[in-house]
């Protein structure tokens, strides 16, 4: 049964240069027949005219090229962030501007718990915005002395816990000697646990279990609701363990008629030999469905810049911190690349520091000589510090880049002042350089590190405004049109999905973002404020307010 539906809209921004704007789009079987005027589209035969979007603006469904579905799981904890944020149910949680406000919100959540032993968890704490206050166990003991309490930082690298949590983990004792565990005057741990290796064993007692990086079933469903609220119709899960049970769950959930988003999980490289990794990902690739796209690998080469664990080239960190950490050896990296090129498996590599980017370029170049692979689209993820010469090498090697545009707003001032200093802070996430060099480019949120919201990410790339209101790196700002391209076709290209999604164009999926305003008509400073009504995914309509 093939029914044609023609959607009428106030305006359709197609991202197809042959027909950049339209008033109508005809769909059949979840795909696009064409965009144009109603007259033009009537030629497809009998149709149903759907006018519910006649006062809305349609764009291709947004594609988020670097996020983690764990954001959905985190929302079952208490939001402790500095900025306002919307939860999967659509509730806006006001940002908390002081430690007192954080403790008040946690206390309120605590009062709602009935089981006295149930742990209380919070997330997205960012003490940088609270005057770098050290949140101690004594602070969190005011929330609850009896039940374990733990709050994860926005960076994901630090957790603060209360005395009960330390006690349950056997750490409320003298004699602890660990650089990640500051001690109080009494010689006992003060509460902050710095680094996943330190907080993971304690996290278990405060409701953050080991598989934090993988969404569970309710988390995946909640994450999908966030996608609808932000106009996102294709989303990556950028470091998934993809254990067999998780794949079964994702397959089942994403195939439900009501599931509103296409999920692209990348298999995290750790825990396997390169040989096993590639053969497992090949197996997974064959299990792909329309809404679950498997068959890609994610590698992490270094750490984070604000955590001083990214690998920087000379002259290193602005504040003199020791260079960061490698999470993979060059030989190991080369072996995964070699086998993946051979098997046709795309590899996305996290590099924050420019030395990590350099290692990737140096590793891939000779391998491409041996295994020419003209359309490999290996992608550098974050790639925050790359300079112009590195972008030229990416171009030469056929690499793509997915830049962390949101970082300017959330941590740009820190980068300027502390981590890399004024000059390099101004070139971070060099969107314009990428474009002018011809490196295919996407931009991302890394949700939950920063909120999922492609229009906000586009705004960040267009304006490069930091949290304190400074424009940082004017030269690297891009146009609204370029930023909208980056959150649609640009991101689709990095996933080899640009023939299916990313523009409103004959043959592609009927995936639309349904917007309240025209993002090309509002002031560039207001791009982030354009309202999202919901999405159409594969021809199915999802209204955010009705979720």
């Amino acid at each position: 049964m093939t029914e044609t539906t023609i959607f009428a809209a106030k305006r359709i921004i197609t991202m197809n240069p042959a027909r950049p704007v339209a008033t109508h789009v005809a769909t059949r079987d979840g795909r696009i027949l064409g965009a144009g005027t109603l007259d033009e589209l009537e030629g497809w035969g009998e149709y149903i005219l759907d006018e519910r979007f006649s006062d809305k603006v349609l764009m291709p469904g947004f594609v988020e090229g670097h996020a983690h579905t764990m954001e959905g799981t985190l929302w079952r904890k208490t939001y402790c962030g500095f900025f306002d944020r919307v939860d999967p149910g659509g509730r806006r949680w006001p940002g908390l501007k002081s430690l007192g406000a954080v403790l008040d919100r946690l206390s309120e959540a605590e009062r709602a718990l009935t089981d006295p032993d149930e742990p209380l968890g919070g997330f997205q704490l960012d003490p940088i915005y609270l005057g770098n206050v050290e949140v101690t166990r004594h602070d969190l003991d005011r929330v609850s002395g009896g039940r374990p309490v733990g709050v994860l930082h926005a960076s994901g690298h630090i957790m603060n816990v209360n005395s009960r949590a330390l006690e349950l983990a056997g750490l409320l004792r003298h004699g602890i000697n660990h650089p990640g565990i500051p001690l109080g005057d009494d010689g006992l741990p003060l509460g902050p646990l710095k680094g996943p290796d330190v907080y993971t064993p304690v996290g278990r007692h405060v409701g953050f279990d080991r598989s934090l990086t993988d969404a569970d079933e309710p988390g995946l469903r909640d994450f999908a609701r966030l996608c609808v609220r932000t106009g996102t119709t294709t989303i990556t899960d950028l470091a998934s363990r993809l254990e067999p049970d998780a794949v079964d769950m994702m397959e089942r959930v994403t195939s439900e008629d009501s599931f509103p988003v296409r999920v692209v999980p990348l298999k995290f490289f750790m825990g396997h030999t390169p040989e096993d990794l590639v053969s497992y990902v090949l197996e997974l690739r064959d299990r792909s469905t329309d809404r679950l796209r498997l068959g890609r690998i994610k590698i992490v080469a270094d750490g984070s810049i604000q955590g001083f664990t990214a690998r920087l080239r000379w002259p290193g960190y602005f504040n003199g911190a020791t260079n960061g950490l490698w999470y993979i050896a060059p030989e190991h990296l080369a072996e995964i690349y070699r086998r993946s090129l051979w098997a046709g498996i795309p590899v996305h590599t996290h590099t924050n520091g420019d030395e990590a980017t350099e290692l990737v370029l140096d590793t891939l170049e000779p391998l491409l000589g041996k295994h020419p692979s003209p359309d490999h689209r290996f992608t550098l993820q974050h790639c925050q510090l790359a300079d112009a010469a590195q972008f030229r090498r990416m171009k030469k090697l056929g690499m793509c880049v997915n830049l962390f545009a949101n970082h300017h707003f959330y941590w740009g001032d820190e980068h300027y002042r502390l981590t890399v200093g004024p000059e390099r802070a101004s070139r971070m996430n060099a969107c314009r350089t990428a474009m002018e060099t011809g490196v295919p480019m996407a931009i991302h949120s890394d949700a939950p590190v920063t909120p999922l919201a492609p229009l906000f990410t586009a705004w960040a790339a267009v304006n490069r405004i930091t949290a304190s209101g400074r424009v940082q790196g004017e030269h690297e700002r891009i146009s609204v049109a370029a930023a909208l391209n980056a959150i649609t076709l640009g991101a689709a290209y990095t996933l080899h999905l640009d023939s299916e999604i990313g523009s409103v164009e004959t043959g592609k999926a009927a995936d639309f973002s349904v917007l309240e305003d025209d993002p090309t008509a509002v002031a560039p400073e207001s791009l982030k404020d354009v309202g999202v009504w919901g999405t159409v995914q594969g021809g199915r309509i999802f209204e955010a307010a009705a979720l």
Binding site: P179, D197, P201, R210, T273, W326, A329, E331, H332
Partner: protein, 321 residues
């Protein structure tokens, strides 16, 4: 509470010989039940003939040894060992090729029921200096060496006599101490790196088939200040790489003493009888006489002073700190 399980961190860059060393230790386990923890199986293949059974994340090895992956939580895996009905006799944590051993050791030190017995870092005698100059990995390799209580220079047979001296001197300048032993591809001195076992304090039991090493066994005739002894055994001039003792302390209780490179620890012994002290070092450097003199000196001092008994809490230290 049962006695803590000794734990050794084994670090070093890819290709340094960690696999060979660990397989050598499993072959030479002599009834000791070793538990090997690795990041991932792929990085550390256990020789097939040693494997009895495999499951998803555990390999059972002949002689009651096991090998497990620790994935993303070393502390959880170690806590699992500590809770076992029959905990292993010794745990070896194999750090990945790019890991910083001190951070692994720090994490391991948080687990109650485990006691750090030092960090051993392997370095390929042929390639270590080039690795340390590598533009990407050089500083990581040097941080690994700086974390070592003992460095094992592997594949020494591929490097000439003068060259091995030069590389040893260079490693000593990186580590800040001379606890460096050499090994060949086929012969890794596993027994020097492992716990010597409570009943091993007789010359016959600590035999090692390598002419490079020598040991001295001492039976103090009177109780001594064991902490003071441990503190002084890490003196580089004595040439001790590894020492273990079950010795009567000043109050007459048995205390267990360990020296690994320049790290020492003293705890209350699991057994009540003191069986003596054994010290191992490279034949050319072990000062048997000075060690004997040291023990004698402390015996006399203890007899005179009758120092306080060993407290419940363990004491440990390092010559670096």
């Amino acid at each position: 509470m049962s006695a803590p399980v000794p734990l050794t961190v084994v670090g070093g860059y890819l290709g340094a010989g960690k696999t060979t060393l660990i397989n050598g230790m499993l072959r030479g386990a002599n009834g000791r039940r070793l538990a090997i923890l690795v990041n991932e199986f792929g990085a550390l293949p256990i020789d097939e003939d040693l494997i009895i059974a495999r499951s998803e994340n555990l390999i059972s090895i002949a002689g009651g040894c096991i090998c497990c992956t620790f994935g993303d939580s070393l502390a959880d895996a170690l806590a699992g060992f500590a809770r076992m009905d029959a905990p292993p006799d010794h745990v070896l944590v194999e750090a990945s090729g790019v890991a910083i051993p001190s951070s692994i050791a720090a994490t391991a030190s948080l687990v109650s029921g485990m006691e750090l017995h030092g960090t051993v870092v392997l370095a390929d005698a042929q390639t270590i200096r080039a690795r340390a100059r590598d533009r990407f990995m050089g500083d990581t390799v040097r941080r690994q060496l700086a974390d070592a209580d003992i460095v094992v220079l592997t594949r020494s047979e591929l490097v000439g006599g003068d060259a091995i001296e030069a590389v040893t001197a260079w490693v000593a300048s990186e580590t800040g101490h001379g606890n460096i032993i050499t090994s060949t591809l086929r012969r890794v001195p596993a027994d020097i790196l492992l716990d010597l076992g409570p009943t091993s304090a007789t010359a016959a039991d600590v035999g090692h088939d390598d002419a490079l090493y020598d040991s001295v066994v001492l039976q103090p005739g009177a109780p001594v200040d064991v902490r003071e002894l441990a503190r002084r055994l890490v003196d580089e001039r004595l040439g001790i790489i590894r020492a273990k003792g079950l010795i009567a302390d000043a109050a007459g209780h048995a205390a267990e003493l360990h020296v690994v490179g320049n790290r020492w620890s003293v705890t209350q012994a699991r057994v009540t009888s003191a069986s003596g002290l054994v010290c191992i070092g490279q034949r050319a450097r072990l000062c048997r006489e000075r060690i004997r003199e040291l023990v004698l000196e402390l015996e006399i001092a203890a007899t005179r002073l009758r120092t306080a008994p060993l407290a419940d809490t363990a004491m440990a230290g390092s010559a670096k700190t």
